[in-house]
Structure formats: structure tokens, C-alpha cells
Symmetry: C2
Subunit: 347 residues, 2 copies
């Protein structure tokens, strides 16, 4: 089968590799219908040292079950399924708390344990916990496939930011970052009842979608100027909630600067830093709450499917260009060049 | 009148100074009935450089109104009042949000703007916002005075930690620190329905009070050993909530190490650091929430007074020794030597 392998920064190849097989009775083999490239895939695309042994890529998947292990009971051959970007048993105390990304028996894709999902076929561990069937839909229902695929990561990552911030109706929410996750956070904030949504971003083709999804204000300025603009828009008080969908230190600092006293900063951009300000001068003095982390999309996916199917939300609009699996290297390059917001890959 | 002045580390004196006078029509002059020494007063007691110009001290006060400015309407001469440790207008949007410690028109005591409250008389700015009358009680009701004084800071600081952590019935709560705030946090966690309360502290005279107030387990071990003990007590998962009442970096690190995935760390110990771990390896990877800050006790005080008066809570038990105002230097020395948990000062 074909699979996507990265051999170093800027070097993505689609190659023939051995088909995956059932290794454990809890595994399933899924044939990919749609996959995509994540903003986080661009981190190694920038920094990976070249090497002979490539890195398998991808963690977003909408597919059809091909085969199941003997202990799999909740999915069967032929089911259209969404694979959340982390696999988990979905039964342990941590999963029952709703934090499946930290399941002690689960893990992430694209490592020595499990291959990446930008491939024709994938082995999904703990399939009962890790796959969610989309009832009544087939791969021929093309119109809903993009939005269903976003439930594997991007939309529900934006949703997680909003959920962890406990957005309440009437609040002002600022979203830092106009990438696909930031725009998803706008859509989720609107769903949770935010009254005012300030989107910080300077790519008008992207912020335009943010406005369609509920952003009431767009702040294109960056740094001090951008901070001042948000404060001006909020009578000097700042934003009840800040959803940080970037992961870089300037975005962190901007977030606490535009947060209202007593407000919440919710991060879903994977931090590219370990230490940051949390003392009296940053978080503590103004009783700011810092929350967020890897989105346990498994916890939200079943509630989101009906909203996609009935058209309440259309998160698939983050996909602005479609590629075949053979074109995946181009998809990476285009996302890296920011000519594509998020690449949709048909397999 | 007599007032407490610090001239350098270890050098506290009670001296005669000019009586305070009404400076603004919104001021009140309050005669002190009881005051006390705070753990945070010990920071300058350790570090203050000696100098000729002393530093006025104190921010906890139970007193009787002596005089009010022309615009003061909610308190009058003769009222027994509690002064929260920060003054505020209690009417602005930030105060209405319940974060009076960050009132843009308010401030803290013991600085150039307002003197400290370890004195016979104090000028209270914005008296309508900054003082709370204790109805039906006089300074002769000695039995309730200690607990009422704790509503000025220590008990409601512990309460703030528990409140910001949104403790829910049935949760496991770990309290880091067995000082007066940590013990108050135990009492507050119990009030909010915590099922299991693990108190990390090694002074048995203090942890004994914690056990009386609801601690179900005491962990005397520190560092790695203490962390492992908490994990062992929680089947390896850690604590839903950690209340951090110390403010030093080892306590911060201990807090995220003993927190359960998806859990909350709520800090009320004033951080003696600005930067700390918040990235994938500390907070983000396990979806930990960091919250807390200076306690807006003004927001909680009216609800707490009836609980003190009807005996539901007895937070005044943190005071284990009484001093006169003239003995304040001894009170500092005893608290610093940890022979006194919290010094109660009669004036």
C-alpha cells in the first residue's frame, strides 16, 4: 500500500510499504477514505533532521473498516468510521473523565508503536475505544465527508479550547491564530454562546471564514498594537476568554495581556516552549486561569456527528484544497507556504 | 497612635505615629479591635534591606468604625466591620465579576497610598466598598472575633483556592502546605464537598487541626517521596484538585506532579517565582488547569459571616497564640520560628 513518510525537513514522500495486519485481537484495519495534513505536521516539516529511516506521518482519518480482531465488538467490516487523533481504550478512569488523549493504555499515531494515518490502510489499536462509527452515512455521501473528517482532530481541537474555557453565553472570546484550529475555535465559541468573538489574524481569506462562523471583530495588528486593539474593543478590560491556537511564546504572552482579570486562557496550540510566565506579573496577579491541552476529541465526537449531519455546523470548510494521496508532498508544501489553509486528501 | 513599622529583615517595631485622618469623603477611620500577622508579612521579614524609613505593616483587620467621610453610606460610627486585605469600590465591572483584588480604583494596604493595618487606627479608602459590617455582633462577643478576623484574609484565601478550583462533591483534593492558609483550604475544600482531602505537611500540631477540619490523609514526606505517596493514595491517578498554599517553586512542581490528568491546580500562595513549567511536560500534556491568585475575599465575606456566627465553620482556630499590639515584634519572631502558627493581636 501507499503511505506518507517524511525523511527530513521539507522532504515528504509517498511510498509503497507493507500492508498493515492485525497484531492484537483488539486491532482493526481501516481503509482510508479521506485524510488530511495537520498544522502540527508542519513542525517536523521545518525541523526534522534528514535520515535514511523515515518518519511515518498523519493522524487524521475517515475510513471504512476492512477487518477486525477477534475481540473487537463495536465496529464491523464496512462501517464508516472516524479515528480520533489519539487511540485509547475509552473505558479506563482517565477516559471516563473525558481525557482520552492521556489514556494510560492508549497512544498517538505515527511512532514506533503505530504507523501514521496518511496511508491507504491503517492499523487502529484498541478499535472499540478508538473508532467511532458514523451511522447511516457511506463514503459516497461526499458532501459531508470533509466536516466528518474534522471531527478526527481540527474542529474538535478548537472545540476543546472553548469547552475547557467553559465559555458562557454573553462572554467576550478572543481567538489567537487564524489557522484551521483558530477558525474552528471561533465556530465552537459561537456554538457555546459567546456574544462577541475577536479573531486575531491577518490573512483576510482566513479571517473572512472566521467572520462567517461568528467572529464579530478581526484584529490584524500584532504585538503591542494588537493587544491595545483588543483592549480598546473591550473598554480596556480585556476578554473573558482567550483561545490560543498557535503554540508559540508570543501568542502565550499576547493571550494573558488581552485576558480580562479573572479570565481564562485556553491553549490548544501545542506549546513550542516549556517554561513561561505564571507569576504575579503574568497570570497570578490578575487571577487568570490557564487551561487546555491535547484535545480528547473522542469525548466530543458522538455529540458532534449529528450537528454535522443536520448542517448546524460545517467545519469542513477549513479544507480549501483537495489533493490525492500521491500529491501529499505538494499538500505539505502548500500548507507550509500558506497558500493552502488545510489540505484535504482523497485516497 | 501605635503602629507597626518594619525597618529591615527581623526588625519590627511598634511606634507612635500620627493618627490617620479622613483624606477623601469616601474614607472611614476604623479603630482596631483585632489584627494579626500574615504568612506574607514574613517575606519582607526575611528579605527587607535595613533603612531609616520604615515600612508600615499589616492588612488584616476587625474593628469599629470611628468616623466616616461625607460620602460614606453603608457603614457608620460604632459598626463592627471586617476589612478585606485589599480595598476596592466593589461596584466596577471587575468587582462585579468577583475579582475585587484587581479593582482598578482599589489597592493594597501598607504602601505609600495607605498605611498598614497593624495599628490602633486605620484609614480605609472607599469605605463603602472596602468594609463589611458584621450585623448584631459587638467587640465584646469575644468568642467569635478570631473567626471573624479570618474573613479578612486567611480563611477566605483558602476558600478562594477551593472556589477557583471548582471543587465538586466526591473529588479528591490535595492541599500543599500546612500553614494557616493551607489548613483553611482544607476546611474550605470540606465545605465544598471534597470526599478525600490529602494534606501535605509535616508539622503534626498543624496537620492535626487539618484532620479535625476534614483532611482524610496526611502526607508528611516531601519531594519525590511525597509525590509517590499521593499517587499511591489515589491508585496512581493523582488528585482531581491540588490547592497550593506555599508559593515556592518546589510546591508548584509538586502540585502538577500529584494532579490527575485533567485536574486543577489552584494557587493562593503568592508565587516567589515568575516563570515555571507550563508546556507539554508539565501542564499541557495532561490537560492540567492552573488557576488562582490574590483572593478577592470581599466577594465571599457576606456568605461566610453567617457560617461563622452559627458555628458551621471555626476558622479562627488557626490562631494559636494571642499577643498585644506592643508584642507584635515577638509575634513576627514566633511565626518566623514556627512556634506560632498564626499570631492573633489584641489592640
Amino acid at each position: 500500500m501507499k503511505a506518507t513518510i517524511m525523511y527530513g525537513a521539507g522532504d515528504v514522500r509517498v511510498e509503497n510499504v507493507a500492508d498493515p495486519v492485525i497484531q492484537h485481537p483488539t486491532d482493526a484495519i481501516v481503509r482510508t477514505v479521506r485524510t488530511c495534513v495537520c498544522g502540527s505536521d508542519l513542525h517536523p516539516y521545518h525541523s526534522m533532521k534528514p535520515g535514511r529511516h523515515g518518519q511515518s506521518m498523519g493522524h487524521e482519518l475517515l475510513g471504512v473498516v476492512e477487518e477486525t480482531g477477534s475481540e473487537v465488538s463495536t465496529v464491523k467490516k464496512g462501517d464508516l468510521v472516524i479515528a480520533p487523533f489519539a487511540w485509547s481504550d475509552n473505558t479506563c478512569p482517565i477516559c471516563r473523565d473525558g481525557f482520552q488523549t492521556a489514556c494510560p493504555h492508549g497512544g498517538f499515531y505515527a511512532n514506533r508503536q503505530t504507523a501514521g494515518l496518511q496511508a491507504e490502510l491503517s492499523r487502529i489499536p484498541l478499535a472499540d475505544g478508538s473508532l467511532v462509527v458514523v451511522p447511516g452515512v457511506t463514503e459516497r455521501d461526499e458532501a459531508v465527508l470533509p466536516s466528518l473528517l474534522t471531527l478526527s482532530d481540527v474542529y474538535l481541537t478548537g472545540y476543546h479550547a472553548a469547552h475547557m474555557a467553559r465559555i458562557r453565553p454573553g462572554q467576550t472570546v478572543t481567538v489567537v491564530g487564524d489557522g484551521a484550529v483558530g477558525l474552528s475555535a471561533v465556530l465552537a465559541a459561537k456554538q457555546l454562546g459567546a456574544e462577541r468573538i475577536i479573531l486575531m489574524g491577518r490573512h483576510t481569506d482566513r479571517t473572512d471564514l472566521g467572520v462567517e462562523w461568528g467572529a464579530t471583530d478581526v484584529v490584524a495588528e500584532r504585538g503591542e498594537e494588537g493587544i491595545q486593539k483588543v483592549l480598546d474593543l473591550t473598554e480596556g478590560y480585556g476578554s473573558h476568554v482567550v483561545l490560543e491556537a498557535v503554540g508559540l511564546m508570543p501568542a502565550y504572552e499576547q493571550s494573558y495581556r488581552v485576558a480580562r482579570t479573572g479570565g481564562v486562557i485556553s491553549r490548544v496550540g501545542v506549546p513550542q516552549y516549556e517554561e513561561a510566565g505564571v507569576g504575579f506579573g503574568s497570570l497570578f496577579g490578575r487571577n487568570l486561569t490557564l487551561t487546555g491541552g491535547p484535545a480528547p476529541v473522542r469525548a466530543y465526537i458522538e455529540d458532534a456527528i449529528p450537528l454535522v449531519l443536520d448542517g448546524t455546523i460545517d467545519p469542513g470548510r477549513v479544507f480549501d484544497r483537495t489533493y490525492t494521496l500521491d500529491e501529499t508532498a505538494t499538500a505539505y508544501a502548500d500548507m507550509d507556504a500558506r497558500t493552502t489553509l488545510k489540505a484535504f486528501i482523497t485516497v
